[in-house]
Symmetry: C2
Subunit: 401 residues, 2 copies
Amino acid sequence: MISQAGLRQPGYGQPFALPGHRVLLGSERPLQLDSGAELAAFPIAWQSYGTLNSDRSNTVLICHALTGDQFVAEEHPVTGKPGWWSTIVGPGKLIDTNRWHVLCVNVLGGCMGSAGPSEINPRTGEPWGLAFPIVTIADMVRAQAMLLDHLGIDRLFAVIGGSMGGMQALEWASLYPERVFAAVPIATAAHHSAQNIAFHEVGRQAVMADPEWHEGEYWRHGKKPVAGLAVARMAAHITYLSEMKLHEKFGRKLQDRENIKYGFDAEFQVESYLRYQGQSFVERFDANSYLFITRAMDYFDMAARHGGVLANAFRDTPVRFCVISFTSDWLYPTVESRRIVHALNAVAANVSFAEIVSNNGHDAFLLDEPDFHRVLAGFLAGAAQHRGLLPLRNGSTPPSP
Amino acid sequence: MISQAGLRQPGYGQPFALPGHRVLLGSERPLQLDSGAELAAFPIAWQSYGTLNSDRSNTVLICHALTGDQFVAEEHPVTGKPGWWSTIVGPGKLIDTNRWHVLCVNVLGGCMGSAGPSEINPRTGEPWGLAFPIVTIADMVRAQAMLLDHLGIDRLFAVIGGSMGGMQALEWASLYPERVFAAVPIATAAHHSAQNIAFHEVGRQAVMADPEWHEGEYWRHGKKPVAGLAVARMAAHITYLSEMKLHEKFGRKLQDRENIKYGFDAEFQVESYLRYQGQSFVERFDANSYLFITRAMDYFDMAARHGGVLANAFRDTPVRFCVISFTSDWLYPTVESRRIVHALNAVAANVSFAEIVSNNGHDAFLLDEPDFHRVLAGFLAGAAQHRGLLPLRNGSTPPSP
């Protein structure tokens, strides 16, 4: 059984107690959402690493995935684990925080301090729950742009993200081409496929089938729909790994036993691994946020907003793109990245494309993948040169170009 | 929400009220299960079509899949829908019931009349629930062999099955080579992979997370864990279809609306299709049976029982095999069928292999697939000739060879 422990993350009336930054945006001019609703005076939480240079040109925006958050490169305040991209973000690392001013923003709809179903609805003084407006990937990006306005950053050097983070990178390039010098969408797609939607729908139904969900108002009952959310996470987690990786990692190996016991305990290692994934997820993530963010991804369809032609989303774009996919990613397979590249080629955009050979499935973008890292480093080095942001020799902030 | 309606299937103390046959087996000599437990005086339900010929040589055993049952070629007594293989089984059809005596047996652990968790435990007078012993694919086959003994059928002309039915066909050939003339394992594997186990574990956890499951004793509470079982079915159903088929069938088409509504209703057709699959499944299937049968499949590993060498399961086999896979089946992909074929080749077995080009995913074996049907018809015709069972000209039972 999944325990009801681990209610440490913020939200549902608890005061904000995370490290990092948070600001109320949209107090003067509300955010107009795709749904037609608007959000006024909403919180946005973010984390930053490194120092903004004097001409404010060295910001790298990293966009997080469905269940990620702003704690990219430091110990996670809830789980105590290393930041989700601390392999490549940090001082002297691939995305060198001695050189770049790295920002990561908790997405709209999230549960780590930005406006979402667990935050307080100012009109009622209660958590939003399902009354929170449906948001889209474009809405997430618009909120991030408002944050950049607040921070006085006109233009990003680069926007980088994997999975849902890659969708945001694409939307950034499409909505604000003049504010983005380079965009790196990784392991992503320009629309959610029927199979993507289907897996998300299973997850949502698992949450909603949990009687502790209480139509999204579980905070009133002192419990959370942890069992349903754990099932949702287990189903999703399978889609993040390749069949080959599961085979290599677990095969049919038994869990703490030499022979099968003939029962419903976790006999196989893959079972106890999945159960662990489910259990640890519910300790750090909010069930309603899971509904809202999966919904935002399902609605993602860049071509649809541009007359059915994806290329129209990028016409005359000045942005340099580096599109990256992984051979064993069956959630957002290479064919989806190729569609993006074809659309960019159709408008004569500056685009590099790399398909990385990997057995790690969709999760490859989070893991130690030397070929991926070489491609990303090479692209960023070239883009920095074109932007006139030369590498540092002494660790100081870069000079103005 | 999933309704609690549709409790029409037998089990949980209700008297057996299905059409077709049922018998108590193992009264004199109990069935020894792989787990070490034994089953005495247990019911087995089956359906038959066509007439057994005078020398009892024309029986085709069809083995059903996880959620199938014995109603292969007639209206289903619970759903009113056509039999699950009525496309190819019936008078004058590919598996011609004017010619063949077709048998299909509800598997051990099932919920359509054979011994399973919803049947009465004779020792307690109550339904078995989780006290039912864990069964394996081999146990299912052993029970079917006991039924053949009861029916006085020494040898099958053919054993045919898709998915879990194909696992049974393989076990039949391995356990009882002298009783099988020909075996046709379709869209199957000789072991369950880590990914297969992972998807099943998600389904089981979804059922067990439903508070109406009550540790498997839901019959005491007058309800069923329908919400959890529906989620399990939804997740499984995605694995039965190819990404391409989902795309062709649904894409991002909206359900009964022209524009998205921004909410958690079923916006996309694929969502309402999945919800319907979940809902209709719980009206005909027992949640505990789902646990037991998925577990049997997870335990399936023919090589493990033969010193890790699959070929040893078929050494000196006299059985003729026809192994069939489908290009877009990602649940039991062609590579799994090739492993079976390699093992059979290693022992110089008589084996044909066909990979059918299809977009229909795993479900292809249930659908109208002309190439598949041509291969199956051709193999059966050749096998019948070798067995001396000539085609009929006048619809009477075939002569003794």
